[in-house]
Assembly symmetry: C2
Amino acid sequence: MSYVNELGVRAKKAESSIANASAKLKNDALNAIAEALVKNSAQIIAQNAIDIENAISNDMSVSMQDRLLLNESRIKAISDAVVQITKLDDPIGSIIGGGIRPNGLKIQKTRVPLGVIAIIYESRPNVTVDAATLCLKAGNVVILRGGKEAFYSNKCLVEIMREAVSSTGLSPDIVQLVQDTSREVSNELMKCSQYIDVLIPRGGAGLIRACKENASVPVIETGTGNCHVFVDESADLEMAVNIVDNGKTSRPSVCNAVESLLVHKNCAEKFLPMIRDRFDKKKVEIRGCNETLKILSGRENVSSASEEDYATEFLDYVISAKVVGSVDEAVAHINKYSTKHSEAIVTNCLVNAEKFQREVDAAAVYVNASTRFTDGGEFGLGAEIGISTQKLHARGPMGLNELTTIKYLVNGNGQIR
Amino acid sequence: MSYVNELGVRAKKAESSIANASAKLKNDALNAIAEALVKNSAQIIAQNAIDIENAISNDMSVSMQDRLLLNESRIKAISDAVVQITKLDDPIGSIIGGGIRPNGLKIQKTRVPLGVIAIIYESRPNVTVDAATLCLKAGNVVILRGGKEAFYSNKCLVEIMREAVSSTGLSPDIVQLVQDTSREVSNELMKCSQYIDVLIPRGGAGLIRACKENASVPVIETGTGNCHVFVDESADLEMAVNIVDNGKTSRPSVCNAVESLLVHKNCAEKFLPMIRDRFDKKKVEIRGCNETLKILSGRENVSSASEEDYATEFLDYVISAKVVGSVDEAVAHINKYSTKHSEAIVTNCLVNAEKFQREVDAAAVYVNASTRFTDGGEFGLGAEIGISTQKLHARGPMGLNELTTIKYLVNGNGQIR
């Protein structure tokens, strides 16, 4: 039996252990994990140090090294986030529809776990704990396939979680780590529909594409965000500067960051120098159309945008820019290049606001607010496993409910048809 | 550009025509379709006759020929079903969640169309109209790929629908038929994720498997039902006979038909002869385990079940049977062989009923009722596009709501984060 199938068999065996666990037992397990993480901080930091050492010898960028790093305060924050999950309502068993049919049949539409969830992700080791504990709370078994850059950190975190889970009487196999980080094993995981119910990739565009193309397990795509802000002619330009700046510079590496700026031609001459002034403080590069270049001629950090720039999620201090003639042109541009994550208009025109929200095809469409709010916490979900950019099952921030499926319970007294 | 891409480009162009259409306009189009079908009955019947002629010369079975046949009363029934869809609430634009966040952001979780839906199905030409009109009501563009056996019928039906849709001002390209029914084109359709948002296969296990293995477009699997009835020791045996008989013989070719019978050992000696008596009238073959064979020795239409029989969706007057020692053994057998469609227990024991509903993993789990009720109409959805047997997006009967996705509309007054 292949390594992936072995993981799958163990996962399926563990399924009933967690699927039918009470909310109390699941919270006990979560609290045990939270405690164990803090208690074993020294061990985690020691294993993380190996990853950091490898990162340095592999010339990983400093910002990537920072994403990889675990220290006492970060471990405490991860542990605190696990405790927060205990405070969320358990979705399992809730009745979300149904009633008594004319023939007397009683139908209850209930929430049940998805089953076995595989998560493929990249370097940040905090995802290991976040993802595992959210899956656990929703009654699911999880198979984690983290990036090889974080291998020693992930292995240590998973061992600690498995031991903690075990101590409460649940099967440790409700949390498993794929210890072979080769591409072959990753591809096999994507095709293991016999044992895996859902695959959630969390990472860059390349990973998402690989999953879409190779997976036979149903996939929920998350997290590619080529997000736009359109500054309409009637916009409050001060507000627009704040929204664009916040969207670009507060955390450039996150999926809800703004990657492209569209400006109505009637306010471009005023607005572009304003945003250029703000960006000068943070050395943001603007890659613009000819009109943008003309208006910003003589300014620093301005260059010409290629077709590809408009399709690029920079995740860096770079933004593409284009002057457009109308809200229709803005909508058409966005629907062509967007990854359907988060899109915003800054306007004071009711007709244009409604048109933009109606016609732009994305998970979240904003009027006069930053795209940064596309986030499980900000949307009131408590926690999230990722931002779905596909249309099936879940769209936008995915919380506990999105980690469940439906079971219809139908009770009768002999009805036939 | 390939033929499939041409269909895709036309579909995407037509998307806004239907996505933003009012409920009234969509109902006008549906009524125009309903009228046109009846008005053009003679033409439909003439084209259908070509399919029937081909079927006869290809030695198609009589029951399959009957599924293919259109006559005046069947066309009237198809037309009436379209009128029924006009009476269902329009799901598009409904607000299903949201509120005002502490920072003043107003979030509305709204229903929007999925976009472009491709449906691959087999011989029955009524599916052509059913599927197209349900997709239309939910604001979607549809690309239909029917079986080659029904090609002339489907072509005629789609031409009539396109003309009717056009007469109301909507783009005719909201309904397109794939006129090349080769396997290559079908495979290309499954991979056309640039233009197609969702793929819904409706048909046998082979088709579903091909979609799962080849598709890069997100798939909703429908309609394979290896459904079981477990007759527990405390069952009302008369009720159990009715439920098993109804599940097997009322319509053997439908996905909610019962394909396998499990009987508790403590009532098997009494129950198996009772169901055999009932099945004698309809010449149902029982393929049983050794214990079943012993109890039914000397009876007609009884043979030995192979391992494969337990995994087979017969869709015919054949049922597999097994005597089990406990509800646990029944649940384990079902979770091993079931396609997760509909499963039933007949029992008077509350503990066993609850255990069965909790532990059996399927879209619908019944106590003391026929699996026949897994149906959009019976569940109160009004109409259905199919029965989802997967866990993502939709599970069980899929109505109009399941043909939609989510868009979050977020309105602020300058909020940044």
